[in-house]
């Protein structure tokens, strides 16, 4: 029997019907979701056959021939479950625009330069304390067509699984003090202010490397087990 997950706290997530983000209009279900309680399959842990993590997968500044342009940063933090337990060995996948706000994907037509030295894709595994760490450049803001003068605040996309399919999370990490926050319907789709702030990294002196990179800390919390499972302890 798989361990059930907590069902509380999920109201932090955005409502899928968010008219200010126009693309939600035809892409959210109108019928009520059917509750599934403790399903074995969704509580199982997926195995990604994407191959082993290569030594430079976490360093987005060292994957091509030379140094990408932009502000070099370290992004680090801990991945924990909703009970505070660190999630070790957790695959963290990230992707982002370059320093000019352009993705290295053909469909991105933003008139900003590509950077031959920046792919914008990284992955790593969390250590025993649940800590992940990436080296990258700060992504630029970029325009989109949602509304007049629509610009996304700088962000890094994150993808994680936690212990189960049911703890899956895809989200975006933002940078502190970005003036675009109030105008961004994607970020503002999270209506609870405290929850919204949990998507914003903090400048962090400990993560900063002297003469080399500024550091940002961003912790991630995924759904935790509904009941603490105690292991049998002898004696």
């Amino acid at each position: 029997m798989a361990t059930p997950l907590r069902r509380d706290g999920r109201d932090a997530h955005p409502d899928r019907d968010h008219p200010a983000y126009r693309s939600t209009a035809l892409r959210h279900p109108r019928q009520p979701l059917v509750p599934l309680h403790d399903p074995e399959t969704e509580l199982a842990r997926p195995f990604l056959g994407a191959g082993p993590i290569a030594p430079l997968d976490h360093d987005l500044t060292a994957q091509r021939g030379g140094q990408p342009l932009g502000e070099r940063i370290v992004v680090t933090g801990r991945v924990r479950d909703g009970n505070g337990a660190p999630l070790a060995g957790q695959l963290v996948e990230v992707w982002q625009a370059n320093a000019s706000g352009r993705y290295a994907q053909a469909e991105d037509r933003h008139d900003a330069p590509l950077d031959p030295n920046f792919a914008g894709v990284g992955r790593c595994l969390t250590d025993a304390a649940g800590t992940y760490r990436f080296v990258t450049v700060k992504p630029g803001p970029y325009p989109w067509r949602n509304h007049d003068k629509a610009w996304r605040p700088s962000h890094i996309h994150f993808s994680l699984f936690g212990t189960a399919f049911a703890s899956r999370l895809i989200t975006q990490m933002y940078f502190p003090g970005d003036p675009l926050f109030p105008y961004d319907p994607v970020m503002q789709s999270v209506t609870d202010e405290a929850a919204r702030e949990r998507m914003v990294a903090a400048f962090d002196l400990d993560a900063t490397v002297d003469q080399w990179a500024t550091g940002y800390r961003w912790d991630i919390v995924l759904r935790g087990p509904a009941a603490t499972v105690f292991e049998d302890v002898e004696g």
């Binding site: 798989a2 907590r6 509380d8 706290g9 932090a12 997530h13 955005p14 409502d15 899928r16 983000y21 693309s23 939600t24 209009a25 035809l26 892409r27 959210h28 279900p29 109108r30 019928q31 059917v34 509750p35 599934l36 074995e40 399959t41 969704e42 199982a44 997926p46 195995f47 990604l48 056959g49 994407a50 191959g51 909703g82 009970n83 996948e93 990230v94 992707w95 625009a97 993705y103 290295a104 994907q105 469909e107 991105d108 792919a119 914008g120 894709v121 996309h157 993808s159 049911a166 899956r168 999370l169 895809i170 989200t171 994607v186 929850a195 919204r196 949990r198 991630i220 919390v221 995924l222």
Partner: protein
């Protein structure tokens, strides 16, 4: 118990295609002979070319500890396809099925659904299908084709796929 202050979800956005898909992603089970394909549609009946479909299933014996997982982008025409094996019934009494997650641009929080198989006798006793309104149950049953099964996902509108609050 401590407050569960979850990190909120955000859309996968339009530009994950250079990051999340990987060559073996559509192969759920190596050497499998079952082909599952489908199209993701929006509420206007248009294909969704920027969705990402992920599946998780039991092995042929119904065991889930193998973590059989697949990931397939719907670019460029809204279609996805997986190669896998037919899962066995799981220990919780569920008929053979695949758990499915749909991510997409315009979807702020991913959706969960399931693929069941047509003509499967165990469907009648499946505890999940049992709680789905009868007139919507067919949206969870794949359609048999010459070379496998087809499972279309309708995010909204007529014949909207049943999605689960997992």
């Amino acid at each position: 118990m401590a407050v569960q202050e979850l990190t909120p979800a955000q859309t996968v956005g339009p530009f994950y295609g250079f990051a999340l898909p990987y060559p073996a992603g559509p192969v759920v089970a190596e050497g499998g002979s079952l082909r599952l394909r489908g199209t993701v549609f929006d509420g206007a009946g248009e294909p969704v070319p920027d969705a990402l479909v992920e599946v998780l299933q039991a092995d042929v014996d119904g065991r889930l500890d193998g973590g059989l997982f697949g990931r397939c982008s719907t670019a460029p025409e809204g279609r996805f396809a997986f190669t896998t094996v037919r899962p066995g019934p799981t220990a919780d009494g569920c008929a053979p099925h695949l758990a499915v997650i749909v991510h997409a641009r315009g979807l702020l929080l991913h959706l969960h659904t399931r693929v069941y198989f047509p003509g499967e006798a165990l469907n009648a006793a499946d505890p999940v299908l049992a709680v789905v309104p009868e007139d919507r149950r067919h949206t969870l049953i794949a359609v048999e084709e010459e070379r496998g099964f087809r499972f279309d996902i309708r995010l909204q509108g007529e014949d909207e796929t049943v999605f689960f609050d997992v």
